[in-house]
Symmetry: C2
Subunit: 410 residues, 2 copies
Amino acid sequence: MDVRRVEPGLRSESVRRANLSAVARKLHDSGSLSRSQLGVRTGLTRSTIRALIGEFVAADLVSETPGPLGTPGRPSVLVNPNPDRPLALALEIEVDSIAAAIVGFGGRVHQMLRVERPRGELAVEQTVADLSALARRLDGFADVRTEAVGIGVAVAGVVRQPDGLVLLAPNLGWRDVALGHALRQALGSFVPISVANDADLGALAEARRGAARGSDNILYVSGAVGVGGGIIVDGRALAGVAGYGGEVGHLPMEPEGAQCRCGARGCWETLIGEDALLVRAGRAHGGGREAVDAVLADAREDDAAAVEAVEHVCRWLGYGLGGLANVLNPERIVLGGIFGRLEALAGGTIRGELDRHSVRATRELVTVVPAQLAEAAPLLGAAELAFEAFLADPAAWLRPEPTLAIAAGE
Amino acid sequence: MDVRRVEPGLRSESVRRANLSAVARKLHDSGSLSRSQLGVRTGLTRSTIRALIGEFVAADLVSETPGPLGTPGRPSVLVNPNPDRPLALALEIEVDSIAAAIVGFGGRVHQMLRVERPRGELAVEQTVADLSALARRLDGFADVRTEAVGIGVAVAGVVRQPDGLVLLAPNLGWRDVALGHALRQALGSFVPISVANDADLGALAEARRGAARGSDNILYVSGAVGVGGGIIVDGRALAGVAGYGGEVGHLPMEPEGAQCRCGARGCWETLIGEDALLVRAGRAHGGGREAVDAVLADAREDDAAAVEAVEHVCRWLGYGLGGLANVLNPERIVLGGIFGRLEALAGGTIRGELDRHSVRATRELVTVVPAQLAEAAPLLGAAELAFEAFLADPAAWLRPEPTLAIAAGE
C-alpha cells in the first residue's frame, strides 16, 4: 500500500551496486555466512554471489574459508567479513556518562570505554574535549584514520536529520549545537560524522543485534533522566520529516501535570523518568544512578515506599505503552535503561496496564521484552549508523586505490 | 538508517517489471504526463521510457497524444492512462452510511453513490446485501467483471492484514467478520477483494490526491462516531505487524475517563468523537450527523453552549495531536470528517494546544490542514487499494490474452 514509489526506476548499472549492498548487509548482520546461505537470503544466483564475493575478497573486506565438515553434500564455502576493515568509531553522550567504541565489519566490538561524568560538567566544549580524549584512549584509534567508514554519535537529545544538528537536549541544557563539526575538529578526522538521537540508535542496535532481532516492527523505550523512544516500522527507522520521530518522552499524559524540562506540563517523562521514581520513593530529585540503584535494591527487599514507587512508575509506563501500541501495532516492545530493570521487578504491572489500554487485536501480537544490549545499545547503534553509508553502497570502497595508482602512473 | 535491506537482491529480469511499475505509478498519480516528465520523475532514459510506454499502448492501457503546442523545442508526446481500463470498484462501510464508486486508471472517478443508513440496520448480512445492491446500481458495474483489477473496501474498524478480516468494529458492533468473503459471494465476483481500515485508506487518498499531496510523512485523523487515524511514514502506510497501526482513537488520555466502546476508559475517542461534542453541547448522545450539523451551525451563530463544546473538543484534539506529532514528526496533519469542519471554526484552538504539547522543533515543521476530499477520502482510498496489485506489477496485465489465444489455437 505504498503511497508513492519508493525505489527510483532502475537502470542495469545500478543492479550490481544494489546487489553488493545486499551481500554486505547480510554479512554485517550475521557475521559469517556460507555462500549458499547468502544466496537464500539475498535471492541471488550462485554465480552472481560468487562474482560479488570476489569483489569483496579482492578489496580485503572479506575472506573465504572452508565450511564446516560433516554436513551432507559439497561443503559450502564460508564468507567472513574482515573484522579489521572497514571499522566504525562509535561515540555517545548521555546525561551522566560518555562512551566510545571501535566496531568492525560484521559487528565485532574491538573495544568499548565508558566514563561517568558529574552532571555539572555538561558544557559543550568540555564534553567534546572529554569525548575526544576518551576516543583517543581506544587501542585501535590510530586505525580509525585509515580504515574507518565513518563516526557515529549517539546523543540524548532531539537531533535534526540529515545534518545532525542537536536542536534540543533539555537534560544536557543544550540547544542548537553543531556537535558533528565540534567533534570533527577535536578528533582531527576527515571521516564522515553522523549524529543521531540515542534512543533511535538504541532501537537500531536492539533490532540488528539484540532483543528485537528478527522483528520488523519495533518500539524501543528507554528510561534514564529523560525518556527516549526509537521506532522501527517495516524494518526502517521511523525518522519523520526531519529525524525527530520517536520523541515519546514528551507525550502529554496529564494536562495539569508536573513541569517538564521541555517546557510543557505532564509529559510522560515527568511520570516515568528517573526523578519520578526517586521522588515517588521519597528520595531526593536528581540523585542519579546510585539513588536509582538504591530504590531498586530496596524494592527487591520489599521496602514499602520503594515498591510503591516501582509500581506507580510501571503503571504509567504500561499506560503509555498501550497508547503507543495502538498507534504503531508493533511486534516487539523493548524496554531499555531503567525500564529493563523495572520490568524484572514489576513486569506484570506493565503488562496489565498494556492489556487495559491497547486494542485487544494489537495486544495479542506484541511482546514486551527487556533490552539485551542494556546500556550499550545506543553506542552500538552509533556504530551501525557509521556503517550505513558503506552498507548502502559498498562499491565506493571496493577499488578506489588501484584506479588512482594507474592514473598516477600514466 | 535501514535496519535491514528493504529490496531483495535484484536480478536483471526484475528490472523491466520494476520500471513498468514506476511508470504506471507516475501515470496513475498524475493523470497525463509527457514522455519527458516521465523520464525526469522515474530517472529512466528516453529510450527506456519509449519501450515501456510501447508495452502499455499495445495492451490498450495508455494512449499517446501530441503534447501542447507553443512550448519551445520539439513538442513532447503526452502519455494518458486509459480511464476505462483497468478499473477499480471501491466500497465503503461507515456507521451511518455506505458508498460505492468506480474509479479508472489515472484516478478518474466514473461514478460515486452514497446512501445514509439508520444505525439500527448494521447486521453484517444486511450491510453486505445493501452494499452489493448499491454497487450494482453503478452505471459501469457490468465492466467491473471484465476490466477491474480489484475491489477495495473501506470499513470503520480494526482490519487484519493481509487477509482483511474485520477483527473489531466497535461502532458497528462487529467482531471477526470475513467481510471480503461475504462481499465476494454477494457480488458474484472473482476479482481480488482487499479490505482495510477506513482512516488508513483516507490517509492514502489524501496523500495521493488530496491535502497531503507531495508529503511523505502524514498523520490523518478523522472524526465521526469513532475516531480513526492513518499514518504515512516516508511515503509508506504505517501498517504495523498486522495492519492495526494508526488506531489513534484508542489512545488513553484520561485514566479515569468515560467508558469507551472498545472496553477501555478515557480513550481519545470519548473526548473528541461526535458524541463527546453533542453531550458537551447539551444535546442527546447518538444524535448523529444532523445533530452534529446543528451544533456546528449554532456555534457559528455564537450559541454559548455550542461554542464551548467546539472549543472543548478542539482543545483535546490539539492536545492529542501534540503527542502524536512528537512520536511521528509528520510534515502534514490532515483533519478529516468532523475535525475538518471543527478546524474551520476553531483552528486556532487546535493549533494552540499543538504548540503547547509538541516539541518546538517538531511543531515548526508541521502544518495542520483540513482534508480536501472530505467524506470521500476513505472511498477513494479504497480504489487506490484495489489498484495496488496492478501498480506494483503491471506486467501481469500487459499481455495475458494474446498468449492465451495462441495457446488455444495450437
